[in-house]
Symmetry: C2
Subunit: 223 residues, 2 copies
C-alpha cells in the first residue's frame, strides 16, 4: 500500500516523518517532473518566505523555470545565488478508509533545493518549455523572434539535491484492525484531464485543430 519507488538525498534533508514513503528511483522522479506542468518555487525575502507557481520543464538533470518572477524576488534570489526550493506534486488518488483517521491521498512529491541560474541559450530553453507544455507545437510554428526572446527569462535549477516522497496503493487495513470489514474501503483515482479544445474568437470555422492539440487531448490523462 505504501510507496514503490527513490532519489539520493543528503543527511540534512532526511525525511523524518514517514521515512518509508521516501522514493529513491531517479526514473520515478523524472516521470513526476515530466508529467506535471507547474511547480511551486519558494524563496526567502527579508527573512520571510514567498512561494509562487511556475511552469517548468526538465532537460536532463536540470529544471528550466518560467513564469511570474514574483515581483523581482525570484530574479534577485538568482542574482544573489540564494538557495531556493522548488516543489512538484502530483495527486494520484483519494484513500477511502474505514476510519476518518486513515483517510489519505496517494501522491508523488519532489522538492529540489539549489541556486537559480540564468540559462545561456534562451532560445533552446524556450523551445524545451514549449515542447513540455504542448508536445509537437514547436514544429508547427515559427521560431521566437529576437524581441520575444529578449522579453523572456528562463532560469535553471540543477537536480543535485532532491527529496522525493510517494504514497501509492490502497488504504491501510488489517484483518485485526478493529474496523467493520463488511464495509467498503478503497481508492478513488484522480488525474487531470484535457477537455475539448475551444477555438478563439479570430479562428475561422474551417481551421483544423493543430495535430499537437489533437494528440494532447486524445492521449488520456493529462499527466
Amino acid at each position: 500500500m505504501s510507496p514503490a519507488p527513490t532519489v539520493a538525498e543528503p543527511p540534512a534533508r532526511r525525511i523524518r516523518r514517514m521515512p518509508e514513503r521516501q522514493v529513491v528511483d531517479r526514473d520515478a522522479l523524472h516521470r513526476l517532473l515530466d508529467g506535471e506542468l507547474v511547480g511551486h518555487l519558494a524563496v526567502v525575502h527579508h527573512g520571510a518566505p514567498i512561494v509562487v507557481p511556475m511552469a517548468f520543464a526538465r532537460v536532463g538533470d536540470e529544471l528550466l523555470l518560467h513564469g511570474s518572477t514574483g515581483g523581482g524576488f525570484v530574479l534577485r534570489a538568482a542574482a544573489e545565488r540564494e538557495t531556493v526550493a522548488f516543489s512538484v506534486t502530483a495527486l494520484d488518488g483519494l484513500i477511502v478508509a474505514r476510519s476518518l483517521f486513515d483517510h489519505s491521498m496517494n501522491y508523488r512529491s519532489a522538492i529540489a533545493y539549489g541556486v537559480l541560474e540564468q540559462v545561456a541559450d534562451e532560445a533552446s530553453a524556450l523551445d524545451a518549455l514549449s515542447e513540455k507544455l504542448l508536445p509537437g507545437r514547436v514544429a508547427e510554428l515559427r521560431g521566437n523572434t529576437r524581441k520575444e526572446l529578449a522579453a523572456t527569462r528562463v532560469l535553471r535549477l540543477r537536480l543535485d539535491d532532491v527529496v522525493m516522497k510517494a504514497r501509492a496503493g490502497g488504504p491501510s487495513e488489517a484483518v485485526d484492525d478493529g474496523e467493520d470489514h463488511s464495509t467498503w474501503a478503497g481508492v478513488v483515482p484522480l488525474a487531470p484531464r484535457w477537455g475539448a479544445p475551444v477555438a478563439s474568437a479570430l479562428t475561422p470555422g474551417q481551421a483544423p485543430v493543430p495535430d499537437s492539440v489533437v494528440a494532447l487531448t486524445t492521449r488520456g490523462p493529462a499527466t
Copy 2:
C-alpha cells in the same frame, strides 16, 4: 482574455508583474480554496526556504492545514510565530496561440501570508478536513478516538493577507498582430477528474460503494 475576478492586499504584496491579472473578489478566492485539495507551504529554516505540500480546508476566513510537518520545520515555524506562505494553484487550461511566445496557461493562484497557530478544537478541525476531502464521509463513520486525535496536528492560517491572481479566457490575439489568422488558436480546458473507485483487498465483493464516494465520482470535475 484576461482575468475576471478580485482580494484586498497590502502594499508590500503588490503584484508588479501583470497587475491586470490580480483578483480582488473574495468569492473567487473561496471557490479556488474550496476546490483544491492541496497547497504548498513555504517556511524559512536556517535562512533557506523549505516548501512542502499540505492538505487543507477553508473554514470561514481561515485555512486548516494538515499533512507532513516537514521534519518538524512546520511546527517550529508555528511555535516561533514565524511568517509562512501558503500557495494554492489551480490550472484551468492551456492557451494555444499562433506564436510560441503567446502560449500560456489559464490558472487561478492564491498566496496567503501569516503565522501558523495550533487549533484549539482538533476534533472539529479534523472533521472539517475530512469533509473537504470527501464530502459526506464524516456522517458515514464513527468519530475519531482520543488516541487518533492525539496523533494529529492541525494548524490554522488566517486569510488576512492574501494575494490572488488569475488568467481566464482565450489566447492573446488581435487582427493586426501579424500572425496567420487562417490557423487555429484557442484553449484546451484542464481539470482533475475522479476515476472509478477501486475496492481494497479486504473489501467483500458485495459491499456497496459509500454514498460519499458515489457522489464524489459523479459530480464531474474534481474541482
